[in-house]
Every structure is written in C-alpha cells, then in structure tokens.
C-alpha cells in the first residue's frame, strides 16, 4: 500500500472552454482517493461509468452514522432509533427533491439499478404482462435492463422487441414508432448508454408511449451524475438509479414510480417492515413506499446516498453540464487525433463516455498498459454485449468521466496510448 500522496498539477481548460464558476481543483480536493498515487503516478480515474469515487462528505456521513447514530429504523422507541429513522426518512425527502417526484411515497430504496429493474419486472410485470404482450427495449441496454425482462418473458410468454440503433449509436426513432402497437405493455429504456455515451430522447420516447397508455421505465444509472433529472417533467412511470454511480455508496439505489402505479403493483419481497399486520390467515401490507422495502434496509447507504445528492446539488447541474461537455469534447478530439483509433459511439447528444478501439491492439492490452501510467479505464464489453455485436468488436476501451476529472487525465491517457501504439507497431 502506497502511503505518500501526490498532488496533481491541473491546468485549466483553454479560456474559451472554461465554463463559468466551475473550480475543478476545489472539487478534486473533496475526493480523498484522487490524492493517492497508483504505481507512483498520479491517479487518472476514468472509469466513472463503472463506479464513481466518494467525496469526504459522504464518507463522513457514513462514519458518523456508525459512530454515533446506528440503530434499526421504524422500530425502537429509544433515542438512537428515532435519530436513525429521521435520517433515513429524511434521505427519502432528499431523493424526492433531487428527482422532483410528486411525493415521498414514490421513492423506494433498493440495492441499486439492477434491483430496481428486477422489482418492476416482478411486482409490475408479473401482474400486468401476459402471454402475447410485448416489451420494448433498445439495442443499447445494459444487461440489467435485458435479463430481467427475458426472465419475465420466459415465465409469461410475453415477447421482447428491440429498437435498433444507427452507426453513430443513436436510437432509430422511426423504428421505435413502428414497434409500438396495441400489444405493447411496457417500454424500458436507458437514458444515457454506459458503453456509447448516447443520451436518448427519453422525453419524446415517453410522450409517444403515453399516446397508447404504455408506461415507460427509464434506466437512469448513467444519467444522474451528469444531467438534471425531473421525473415529473419527463413524465416517466419508473426511474431507476444506483447510489454508487453518483458519488454515493455501493449496494443502495432508488426506484421512483408514480404513486398510482406503485399502488397497483404486487408486493415484491415479503418480510418485516413491509407489513402493517401479520396473521397466519392474512397479512395486511404497509403503506407506500414501505410495502416495497422488506427487511432491514441499507440504512448507512441511504444516508450516504442522500449526502452524495446534496453534494452534487451544491455544485449544481448547470456548472457540471457545461464543464463536462467541454471536457468530453476535449477528450474526444484528442483521442480522435490518434492514428488507428476509432471512436465507438458518436451520437450527437452524448454524456460522460468515450468508447474506442485501436486497430491491431486489443483493449485488454491497452487497459493494462495505461494502468501502469496511473490511468484507470475499462476494457471489456461493459455488460452490453449486444452493442459490441452491433459494432463487430468483442470489446472496447472506455474512458468515462465525472465532474472531478481534468484535462490532464486525458493528456496522461493520450501519452500512454502513443507509447503503446509505438511499441505494438
């Protein structure tokens, strides 16, 4: 374990690209891990689509909970339990405000995006989706927004329909219009693709589905750290997110669902906390949203998640959006200048993700090579094997950014890529 810390020299983006009041140095200072070296080099963490780093405020909130506030919630009459319950329910309010949901009843804490989607597949899907019905997904879904629906289809006899994508990695909207029909029961779509970076026009997708009264689930895992989400403005019926992709802890996430829909769903998992009364003859389920939160939840995780959302809001999405847009453009331009490098995913609307391949060099070799220069990128299929197949590659390299990344992170990556191209030539 290296113990020394390295301070990274950050140079500002060129004046024309330096957006408003965004001070990346100040943000970086809030993230302890960014000060540690990797193989003696400053860390250039560019794997934010896999998971993000945590600011001190989040780490401290979790520490404080375990140090001074730990108790189970919704049970004890004693002081600590009241504190823990207040914090847990307070976090729900933070999430409600963050997503601009209409009510706290619409915010269900889960283990993450995967868990949220599985909840909908089980509690909504099993009740309302039958043999012959259709579920529409896109070609760029993460496996977690494919497999739960496949499992449901296998069980019920429903069918999956897939919206194709064009060479840039954008949904073909006309194909979506054609897929929607009177058998469609649900549209489940990713907001920002984790392997292509494409930002999908979810608002338009939702509006069109609603014309036929079809509900829409939005997989927001990759969106929330980059874009302001307003579930009422989007008018989505379900929205799923993971805490760890927005500077919060792993193992915690959110399912937003419209109250009317949640009310109509079957319970998900049975157990404590999701009931009002239990008799062997009959159980009466608890009110929303507790009906969907069986068992002792990840209390510390929920508290950490709320802190992370507060942190992001204190920076503000306007500043984050402008800064990240400039950084993404900088990274894409610099990478495209490399001979033999091909970007995978060149949608007109993108956020956070740059996937690429280099002719003659396997992504794994690239990943290992740049790692030794302190650069963390992902090499693989990114849990989106259908996307890889679409582009005829087994895997790609992926550099994915967050608001604490800087121009130098990309410069280090590009220097390392120059070296490997030379060595492999």
């Amino acid at each position: 374990m290296e113990t020394t810390t390295l301070k990274k020299e950050t140079v500002r983006l060129p004046e024309s690209r330096q957006p408003g009041h965004f001070d990346v140095e100040k943000i970086r200072a809030d993230f302890p891990i960014l000060q540690r070296p990797v193989y003696g080099k400053p860390l250039a963490y560019l794997d934010n689509a896999a998971t993000t780093q945590k600011p001190l405020a989040v780490i401290e909130a979790i520490r404080r909970y375990y140090n001074a506030e730990n108790a189970n919630i919704h049970r004890g009459v004693y002081h600590l339990s009241e504190v823990a319950t207040r914090k847990y329910e307070g976090a729900r309010k933070t999430v409600k405000n963050f997503l601009n949901a209409a009510s706290e009843k619409e915010i269900v804490f889960t283990a993450g995006t995967t868990d949220s989607i599985n909840l909908v597949a089980a509690a909504y899907g099993r009740k309302f989706i039958k043999a012959g019905d259709e579920i529409i997904l896109s070609h760029m879904e993460h496996h977690s927004n494919i497999v739960p629906w496949q499992m449901l289809c296998e069980e019920t006899g429903a069918k999956l329909r897939v919206i194709p994508i064009n060479d840039r990695g954008e949904l073909i909207f006309e194909a979506y219009e054609k897929l929607l029909n009177e058998r469609t029961r649900l549209v489940s779509i990713v907001y920002v693709s984790n392997s292509l970076g494409t930002v999908n026009p979810v608002k338009e997708i939702i509006a069109l589905a609603h014309q036929g009264n079809v509900p829409v689930l939005v997989d927001g895992a990759q969106a929330v750290a980059h874009l302001k989400v307003d579930v009422q403005d989007l008018d989505c019926d379900f929205f799923a997110l993971s805490g760890h992709k927005i500077f919060g802890p792993t193992g915690v996430g959110v399912l937003y669902a419209k109250e009317k829909i949640l009310e109509s769903m079957n319970p998900y998992r049975g157990g404590g906390d999701m009931i009002r009364s239990v008799k062997f003859e009959k159980t009466v389920y608890a009110e929303l949203p507790h009906r969907f939160e069986a068992g002792t939840p990840h209390i510390a995780g929920v508290i950490g998640l709320a802190k992370a959302l507060e942190y992001v809001e204190s920076v503000g999405f306007e500043a984050i959006g402008a800064y990240e847009k400039a950084l993404l453009e900088y990274g894409q331009e610099a990478l495209s200048a490399l001979k033999k490098l091909k970007l995978i995913g060149t949608a007109r609307e993108k956020a956070g993700v740059i996937s690429f391949v280099i002719e003659g060099i396997h992504p794994h070799d690239i990943g290992t090579w740049v790692d030794r220069q302190g650069v963390a990128i992902r090499a693989g299929h990114h849990c989106t094997q259908p996307v890889m197949e679409r582009y005829g590659v087994p895997s790609t390299c992926r550099a994915s950014l967050a608001m604490y990344n800087c121009k130098e992170d990309f410069d280090t990556l590009i220097t390392a890529l120059h070296d490997i191209i030379k060595v492999f030539d």
Binding site: G360, P363, R372, Q385, V423
Partner: protein, 150 residues
C-alpha cells in the same frame, strides 16, 4: 515500465502480429472452444491426433496479445509431441504463470515458454495466458463443453 517491458517482450509482440498455426483445420480429430467471460474473448483449437501424437494443431479467435502469443507459441511447441507430453507441458506452464513473482524461472526447462513469466506481475492477465492451454487440454481430452477461464 519495467514490468510492462517484461510482459510485452518482442517475442510476444511478434507472435501477436503474425501468429503461427493460425486458422481453421477441416480434417481435425479433436477440437475445443475456450471462452474468457471477463473480456468476451474466444479461442478455438483444432488438432489432428494420430496414435497418440499431435500431428497437426491450429488455433483461431479473438484475443489480446498475451492470449494470441500464447496460442501461437503453444501450437508451435505441441506439434509432433505426444498427448502425454502435451499434458506435462500444460502442467509446467500452469505452474509457471501461477508461481510467485519472486521465484526463479527455470528458463532451460521451459524454453520458449519462459517469456510468459512476465504475466505473474499482472494477476488480471494470467487467464489470458492460460486460455489456449486450457482449451487444448480440453480438446485432447475430448471434453465437449466450452471451457471457460472461470
């Protein structure tokens, strides 16, 4: 950088660029497919075994430089060897890539295989080096299922 140079030695880079025994074989007696679920890489091994001797052997598939060089060097080495000798080499190779980084490498005994000693510094890459070997073992032992590195 030193570890990277150890890993990506010129011999490995050369085999990656122009692998030996690369391609399909139609009249093989043994074939097997290997899969690394971590990266999605696939490799196929074809062998023609007669009277317990590997008369011919080929491989094809997607893979990183380490996996490809391993397939190339391995097939070159196994051609003409008996099945028993191949199994012996498999054991030696496995032992090499999973041994402690600080332990000495018997370059005389291992011959060309010694270039893979560098992967010991890179735990995530040991499976890449081993993929071709696991697949050939399955092929000559006539196992039908796809072998994975897991």
């Amino acid at each position: 950088m030193e570890e990277l140079k150890e890993l990506y030695q010129q011999i490995i880079l050369d085999h990656n660029k122009s692998p030996k025994n690369y391609g399909k074989m139609v009249n093989c007696t043994h074939a097997s497919e290997g899969y690394n679920p971590l990266c999605g890489d696939r490799i196929k091994i074809y062998a023609k075994v007669e009277n317990g001797v590997i008369e011919d052997i080929k491989f094809e598939g997607e893979g990183c430089a380490i996996a490809k060089a391993s397939g190339s060097i391995m097939t070159a080495l196994l051609k003409g060897k008996t099945v028993a000798e191949a199994q012996q080499l498999f054991e030696e190779f496995q032992h090499l890539i999973t041994s402690d980084v600080r332990s000495n490498v018997d370059t005389e005994k291992l011959g060309k295989l010694a270039v893979f000693a560098g992967v010991r510094e890179f735990p995530t890459r040991v499976k890449c080096a081993g993929l071709a070997w696991h697949t050939v073992k399955a092929a000559i032992e006539k196992k039908d299922e796809v072998v994975t590195t897991e």
